[in-house]
Amino acid sequence: MRKLAIGLAAFALPLAAAAEVENYVFDAVHTVPYWETDHLTFATFRGRFDRVTGKFSIDRAAKTASLEVVIQTASVSTGDNERGGRARTRDEHLRSPDFFNVAEFPTMTYSSTAVKFKGDDPDAVEGNLTLLGVTKPVALRIERWKCGPDPRFAGKRFLCAGNASGSFKRSEFGMKTFLPTGIGDEVKVWMSVYAWRQ
């Protein structure tokens, strides 16, 4: 009986190691969600969020993963934050109830529901975006992905980084100001993600 138990344990140990889940936390300085949308039907306009936190976990053997992102909506930035004699800036306008309504909804979140793999790497994320108190499914495509020792820390930290993109219609979240010709409905998102293994 004892031999059987030892044998089972010896068999199970490598499996347990292979199924180990790795947990990662975002490098907030390098993780930046950018967005772009049509402006006045003339040109595409871009902005970003400066404060984002998040984490993901990945089980390479089981090919499963999960992702959580929290964006501080007040950190929306288009580079126009100096009034310079004007009554308000564009960034202040974006924070108002016309768009991100940051006083009422200080955060927007993204939570994965499923992650698809291509080979050993994650390839696409299905999840829910919560914006202005409304939750809708939004898919992200992972355009680029690499994991390895972080050269900035002489390899002492293990880094996973890449780029992801997706899109959604802002009207579905109740953000309807200046639709359809003033500011476009479709918002494209492109994100650089850097995260360290814990």
Partner: protein, 274 residues
Amino acid sequence: MDDFLSHPAVQGGVAPFVVALVVALLLGPLRLGGLAALAGFLTAMYFVFGFQLTPLTATRKIMLLAIAAPVIGILADFAFKPTRFGAAILALAAAAAALWAFWPVLAQRPAAEAWVLGGSAALTLAFLVGFAQLYLAEDAVRAGAAALALGLGTGVAAILAATAAYGMLAIALAAGAGAFLLPQMIAGKKAFAGVTFTLTAMLVGGLIAAGAMILARLPWYSLLALALVPIGARLPVPRNAPVWLQAVLLSLFGFIIGAAACVSVWKFPDASLG
């Protein structure tokens, strides 16, 4: 047609005015012409935010309160005589409505800020509604001029305070008030305002202004300045002046106070807590 209807000037001005004018003309003979204020506001609300109620944001609470106001107003006008006690009750209810609408936002602020913002909002709503019931409700031209000036002043102030959407809602309220005034000016005869019009116009105008303060960048002192706008419509005008001239003069008095509030947003914006 879509391009026409998506223009901000149409959504916040032209369409609300047309709808409100139809309401004023159709319901005026029934002493319900005051519903023009609600019609103007709801038209812009439909274009700018839609009629969804979930999640129940501050903006959607303003819409619910706007719809509730004329219900209370009609009940008050047709079932009760106007009294000082009634005006005080409505003023207190308006202050409570402001706190209900914005409490979830205020609760996220530091206590000192929440007190200033919540106190300014409650005070403004109480004054606007109480003053209008006591001094404007019996005179449809004064009430209409006060609502016109409050809507326009709040609209411009809100745009300066970084919320064009709230600006459009307030200008739509002004358009509704204008539609309420126009038949009186043309006919040379005063209509009936009562609680139906004054409560709706002052409550909605005050809540939009308070929203521009709490959710955007309107300074608290600009909100208090906007609260003084209806006083302009209470100033004396020649008693025998034609109705159109009274409407123009009283609106002008209100515009001057509203303009002062707008200047305070423009020139002294940095102390805003929004």
